[in-house]
Symmetry: C2
Subunit: 229 residues, 2 copies
C-alpha cells in the first residue's frame, strides 16, 4: 500500500469511526478492514438553508448522508409547477438513485442549515460488493425509502387539508421537538394544497393552541393534532 493511500484509509477510519451519528448512517457497522476499500476521501460539508446539494439532471457522482438539518427532494414539472416528494433528515441518504442511474431524478434543496457527508458513488459500488455490512445498510435504506413513500401516500395525500397538515406536523415532530416548521409554500408543495390554504390551516392551528411556534421552531399538542378530521 502506498503511503498516501495508507494516510487516506486512516483518515477515513478516523472520521467515520468517531462519527457521533454513526449508528444511524450508511457506514454504521463497517469494520476496520472495510475502510481499506475507501479509496477516496469522504468530504464533510455545510450548506446554508436554500442551497442545492444537486440538481435534477445533474450527472451523478456523489451520495449524501444527512448529518444534521433538513433537505427536501423537489420534482419539477414541465409546466413550471413542482412537488416535494420527500423530506430527508439526520441519517437519511440523498441521491441513492446514483447507484443505478446516470442522473438524479430530483433536486435536493436544504430547508435549514444542513451538514452532510459527501461520498463518491464509485466507493459505495466497490464496497457494497465486498462488504456484507454495507450491503445490509443499503438494503435497509431502500426499505426505508419505500415505507416512507407509502406512509406519505397514505397520510399526506388523502383526507382534508386540515388532516393532512396535522399529519405532517406529527411526522415532523416525531423525531424531535421542537422541530423546524417549513414555509407555507413548502407545506403546500408537500401536501398538494395551495400556499394560502396551508397558511389558513397553520394560522388556525396556532389560534387553537394545537401548534406553538417560536421563530421557525415549533411544538404541537398531540392530543389535539390527532383529533383533527
Amino acid at each position: 500500500m502506498k503511503p498516501d493511500k495508507i494516510k487516506q484509509v486512516l483518515n477515513n477510519i478516523e472520521k467515520c469511526q468517531l462519527c457521533p451519528i454513526r449508528h444511524l448512517v450508511l457506514f454504521a457497522d463497517l469494520q476496520a478492514d472495510d475502510f481499506q476499500c475507501l479509496n477516496y476521501p469522504i468530504k464533510e460539508l455545510k450548506y446554508k438553508a436554500g442551497a442545492a446539494l444537486y440538481k435534477q439532471e445533474d450527472t451523478i457522482d456523489y451520495v449524501y448522508t444527512i448529518r444534521s438539518g433538513l433537505v427536501k427532494l423537489v420534482h419539477y414539472l414541465p409546466n413550471g409547477s413542482y412537488r416535494i416528494t420527500r423530506l430527508l433528515q439526520q441519517g437519511d441518504l440523498a441521491g441513492i438513485e446514483a447507484l443505478n442511474s446516470s442522473a438524479y431524478l430530483q433536486q435536493a434543496i436544504t430547508m435549514q442549515d444542513t451538514t452532510v457527508c459527501k461520498i463518491l458513488v464509485k466507493n459505495i459500488q466497490q464496497l457494497s460488493l465486498k462488504s456484507s455490512h454495507l450491503y445490509r445498510q443499503l438494503t435497509s435504506q431502500w426499505q426505508k425509502v419505500q415505507s416512507d413513500a407509502d406512509i406519505w401516500l397514505t397520510y399526506l395525500t388523502m383526507g382534508s387539508s386540515r388532516r393532512r397538515v396535522a399529519n405532517l406536523l406529527i411526522y415532523l415532530a416525531n423525531n424531535k421537538e421542537p422541530f423546524f416548521l417549513p414555509s407555507r409554500e413548502d407545506i403546500g408543495a408537500l401536501l398538494a394544497i395551495t400556499t394560502e390554504t396551508a397558511s389558513r390551516v397553520i394560522a388556525d392551528f396556532k389560534r387553537t393552541g394545537l401548534l406553538n411556534t417560536k421563530n421557525k421552531l415549533a411544538t404541537i399538542d398531540y392530543t389535539k393534532a390527532k383529533l383533527i378530521q
Copy 2:
C-alpha cells in the same frame, strides 16, 4: 451433492433459464452456478382476480415476482378506509420489504387473474451475498420502487381529478394496450378521490372518445389524454 439436491438445482435452472420474461425479472442475469445456491424450489402460482398474495402483518417468508396480471398494494387505515399505494405489473417484485423487516407493510391483492413466482426469502438473502448479478437486480428493483413512488406522488396526487385520472390511464397504457381498467372504487383509492368522482370522469372520458372500453379492457387517445387539465 446429494441426488435430490442436484435434481432441485437442475429443476430451478431449467425453470428460470427457460422463463419467457426472464429479461424482466429478479434472476435476469443469474449464471448457471448461481442456481446452485437455490436450495429451495421456486413455486409458480396462479391467482384469480381478488385473491391476496399476502396480508398486512402476515409473517414474511416469500417474495413474489409478477409474471402476468396486475396486483395492488393496499394500505388499510385504523378507521377502516384504505389507500392503494402501488400497482405491480409484469416483472415487478411484491414483498421486497421481506428482505429487511419481519412483516409485510401492506396487503397485496390481485386485480385480475395473475401468475407469480414465489421465492423463499432465505434463498434471496443467501444468494444476494454471493452473486453480484442478483445484487444488481435487487438494487435496481429498489431504485424502481423509489422512482415509481416519486412519479406517483408527482402525477397521481396533484392537479384536478380529471388530470389525475388521465395520468393514471397514461400510466396504465404505457406498458401495453389494451390495458386492464380498474374498478371505479380502485381508481378512487389510487388517486384519493371518491368512487363517484372517478365514475363521472371515466364516463365523461368515454363520451368524448378519450377512452374506449370493451369489457374491462381499455385503450386511450393519447393526444386527448395529454390535453386534459
